[in-house]
């Protein structure tokens, strides 16, 4: 896979290096700004709230009856 990409990149070794870096930056940006933020909402890694079982990870949280006055 990587060999195939390397062969296809133009511009000799310097050009290929530059192209690789650009591709790498693109892939990292895609992961960090799109894939990971999406993935983490699907994983239970960040649950810190107490919640009713039927309503876990929804935007509502336990609403204990409002306090007195």
């Amino acid at each position: 896979m990587y060999v195939w990409i390397w062969r296809r990149l133009p511009g000799g070794v310097p050009g290929k290096l530059l192209g690789s870096l650009v591709l790498l930056a693109g892939v990292l940006a895609l992961l960090f700004f799109l894939v990971f933020p999406w993935a983490e909402t699907r994983l239970p890694l960040n649950d810190v709230t107490i919640d009713h079982p039927a309503r876990t990870s929804s935007s509502t949280s336990p609403t204990p009856s409002p306090s007195g006055p």
């Binding site: 960040n46 709230t49 107490i50 949280s61 409002p66 007195g68």
Partner: protein, 253 residues
């Protein structure tokens, strides 16, 4: 030049072996790539998410400062469910977590709210009100406001700054109940955030001003919840220019 002659025969004999080799190499590269991506995800969760929270906290700090300078009412005089989701509720100081520790508590405990900072459970009491000011916060990721929650001890203090007051809550067993100052509970145990913790009976009107923190437990897991209870022990008007002594003196070792 000789290669052009030799090429067809070599290619013919080696096609099968080369195919397997290419497939094996491709699979190997794919697996290594998957491993690297998973490591990157861990790095993203643990460190990169903090940048977002830092940015949001900066904005929330500006917002709450403006709010305090404006002519609006102090948050303690509002009904508990009248605060817009995502807005700042109060500034939180915990001397045990260091002199410079402070976070703006945000309204709401949804995923998006908790990305911004520790979140106030909507509908629970507001700072200084009778009832239970309940707050959830990340123990890891998103600047992990409650990372050191397990270092809190009995009689440590938690300070909240609102528009007009400094509110000091002291961690202790909940008076009038048999609830300890620290609990580890199931994620579904909403009773810890009741106006009087573990008293679902609505007729039992709260009389005390409490504070409750929830975070995940064990660290890096979401299997249980770590819970801290505290009681309001001091309420100072900010106008007097006084600071809670808890913020001026380091916590006992």
């Amino acid at each position: 030049m000789t290669s052009t002659v030799a090429a067809p025969s070599r290619a013919a004999s080696a096609t099968r072996g080369d195919g397997w080799r290419t497939a094996a190499r491709g699979l190997g590269q794919l697996l290594i790539t998957a491993g690297v991506v998973i490591l990157l995800f861990v790095a993203y969760e643990l460190w990169f998410t903090g940048y977002y929270t830092e940015q949001q906290q900066h904005q929330l700090t500006n917002q709450i400062q403006q709010q305090w300078q404006g002519s609006g009412p102090d948050i303690s005089s509002l009904a508990p469910d009248k605060v817009p989701l995502g807005s700042g509720v109060a500034v939180l100081y915990i001397p045990r977590f260091g002199r410079h520790y402070h976070f703006v508590v945000v309204e709401g405990t949804g995923f998006n709210d908790l990305q911004k900072g520790p979140g106030h459970y909507p509908g629970t009491a507001l700072p200084g009100q009778v009832g239970n000011f309940a707050v959830a916060g990340h123990r890891t990721t998103y600047l992990h406001p409650f990372n050191k929650i397990a270092t809190l001890r009995d009689h440590d203090v938690i300070v909240l700054e609102t528009k007009t007051r400094w509110l000091t809550y002291t961690i202790e067993n909940v008076p009038g109940t048999n609830i300890p100052w620290r609990e580890i509970v199931a994620p579904t145990d909403v009773a810890v955030a009741y106006p009087v913790p573990d008293q679902p009976d609505a007729a039992k009107a709260p009389t005390r001003k409490l504070l409750t923190f929830t975070s995940c437990h064990p660290e890096y897991s979401a299997r249980e919840r770590y819970v801290i209870h505290a009681v309001l022990t001091e309420s100072l008007p900010k106008s007097a220019g006084t600071f809670p002594t808890a913020l001026l003196t380091p916590p006992p070792k």
